[in-house]
Symmetry: C2
Subunit: 361 residues, 2 copies
DNA sequence: AAATCGTATGGAAGCGGTTTCATCCCTGTC
DNA sequence: GACAGGGATGAAACCGCTTCCATACGATTT
């Protein structure tokens, strides 16, 4: 059994209350007593019992983060940022994985509630299941900040990029490379940011004077099979085949790419490709994928800042915060123009074109 | 404030003890009382306070895992397995990131101790700092199982692959492709498994009748700069230049590849390359990297099983467990023979050779 | 030297559960 | 109908810590 304050007190010849005062750094303790207690702590290798402390103080100094899948590289980067901010402010971060399931997400949230965390970051699994009632029952327990995947129709503190603008930027880039038949494959539209990214797609086309074709907007999901079906039927059809494809998130983008490669189509040879989120960041892998890069670390960091503000300010009436961070487009080979591409093909094995990534804006 | 048992009791018209019995599932409660309590739970949306429970029972049903860097894809996969096993047994897993620093690792461990976790999985940051004394002070607090990176000279429960055998397999593969000048770049040799992997390298050469050259064994680390220095000086020198390179772990391997690409060398054109751990698993990225693939999910899963055995059995005298899981070699292009390579170059842009990965053994 | 003040200290209560134990009531038996 | 037996129930203690409050002691003042 680990040593307790009471044992410390006996060894140091003081009362338990005094020991507590020494540990919490209260000044109301004599130097003599302090030293005796500190010695005793060293002798017994004492470690305060945070559980008991939390029970008494009703504070855990712990935050939670629930993400859909820790094996998707995007999320660990966010976690890093969140953990960093939390640590700087003396908070502890618990990471939970909902495995993309709304049910498990509920369980995880219940767990955090039972553990009495003081606040939560949430990247929701689907957004579908977050009805206002469920939301109310969650957010009455502790403050919540949503990240990246935002549930539609829910007024909630959030941190994400300027999704619409970033998507517009990506599409503009494709148009500048001469593409006019640009398809978009999306994740679930129950997420606000997926909708925003589609909006950006439309805006870019409109500004470029290109008519929007419903047949080029493929409402997908995070499921490999569904995405494969949409992409293959869209890309293999006889007429109206797009020359470029834009994926509104990394999971869907990777699924799209995988499914098209599996039927013998590749980028940039057969279609130009741009995706939200980096699929590989290593520039020596070919083809390099042009992507909308989100400031993942900062997103996690900022989200914790917003969350702590809610926690530490008691003023609950304050307006919802929506933080938008800037995204950038990193141009790589997958969006090469036909011309560049031809050049690249001829010399490809000797010296690949544009080894380094180019950053737009 | 969340509702307490006492309030439940008042609402249901029973005592707090009875409420507790209902919640803990004790049979010693009448159906009538049980229903009243369950109703009250629903009405108040009651959630038991795990903190209070833990304080009383001295059990948290929580495990911790400390890893060096959550953004390295290898670790999230382990976490997935660990979390899965923990959940199945009714335990909760806390994930902590030591950011590759031994000091932070200590802090994280202290935190877990203060949180009174019942056991810990550890992938150590360096292994250097884990002196037997420090080790004793940790493992006296709770059982620990080490994963993947094993500290040298420490008798500890562990889960890893057959490092020596897997390395031997990788080198044999290179030899079967005609390579005789095979260099190895390692991580820190303060880790037992790094030593084992070098041992596997030597064994393979010996069995193949190839003399071992000290100048081809590059003792590296996880640091980009150090690895770059070693690889560049080893690969660019005038004489005794190896035709193949084997990296004993993914971090070092990626650093090696990065550094060699940056000076204009690429695989498989200029050197064959095999690494422990997958750098990219997506087979449509070129070059595909031949790698020793560890069963990451299973490693996490098994590690939790071993840990729970220690926790739930009070018999502390039992011998240390060392679990070895099988690894496989996934052959991709980076270890092509010169012949295959030439063929691949000619036709590369039309139909890439070996799109799917080939698994050895 | 006595009174007053200030402050370090010890004792005790309480956080929200679990668990023990004595009590009470219901049932069955003679 | 009285009593034994047994199971459900409530009261109370306790987990380790913080915090409040009363006390006692040392220092300062008159």
């Amino acid at each position: 059994m680990p040593p307790t304050q009471k044992e410390l007190a006996k060894l140091a010849g003081v009362s338990a209350g005094t020991v507590s005062n020494v540990i919490s750094g209260s000044t109301k303790v004599s130097e003599r007593a302090r030293q005796k207690v500190l010695d005793a702590i060293r002798v017994l290798n004492y470690q305060p019992n945070l559980i008991a402390r939390s029970l008494k103080t009703n504070r855990t100094r712990t935050l939670g983060i629930v993400i859909p899948d820790i094996t998707i590289p995007f999320f660990p980067k966010i976690i890093r940022g969140a953990e960093c901010a939390a640590r700087e402010r003396g908070y502890f971060l618990i990471v939970l994985d909902s495995e993309g399931s709304a049910d498990r997400e509920s369980e995880m949230i219940a767990l955090l509630r039972a553990q009495r965390v003081e606040g939560m970051l949430l990247v929701t699994a689907s957004g579908e299941e977050l009805t206002p009632e469920r939301w109310h029952s969650i957010s009455s327990a502790f403050p919540v900040v949503c990240l990246d995947r935002l549930p539609v129709n829910l007024d909630v503190d959030s941190v994400c990029v300027d999704d619409c603008g970033a998507a517009e930027m990506a599409i503009s880039h494709l148009m500048s490379r001469g593409h006019r038949e640009i398809a978009v494959i999306t994740g679930p539209l129950s997420l606000r940011n997926e909708q925003e990214r589609v909006r950006g797609y439309r805006q870019a086309l409109q500004k470029g004077g290109i008519p929007i074709q419903r047949s080029l907007i493929w409402n997908g999901s995070f499921e490999q099979e569904e995405v494969a079906r949409l992409c293959q039927s869209g890309m293999l059809r006889a007429t109206g085949r797009p020359t470029a494809l834009f994926a509104t998130n990394g999971v869907t983008g990777l699924a799209a790419l995988r499914s098209l490669y599996s039927v013998g189509l590749s980028t940039p040879k057969d279609f130009a490709f741009v995706t939200f989120d980096e699929i590989t960041a290593e520039d020596f892998f070919r083809p390099g994928i042009t992507s909308v890069v989100q400031p993942t670390f900062d997103m996690g960091y900022r989200a914790v800042e917003v969350l702590l503000e809610r926690i530490e300010k008691t003023d609950t009436t304050e307006r919802r915060k929506r933080v938008h961070l800037p995204a950038t487009v990193t141009v790589r080979e997958s969006s090469s123009t036909p011309l560049e591409l031809a050049a690249s093909q001829q010399t490809s094995m000797r010296k690949p074109v544009r080894r380094g990534a180019v950053v737009a804006r």
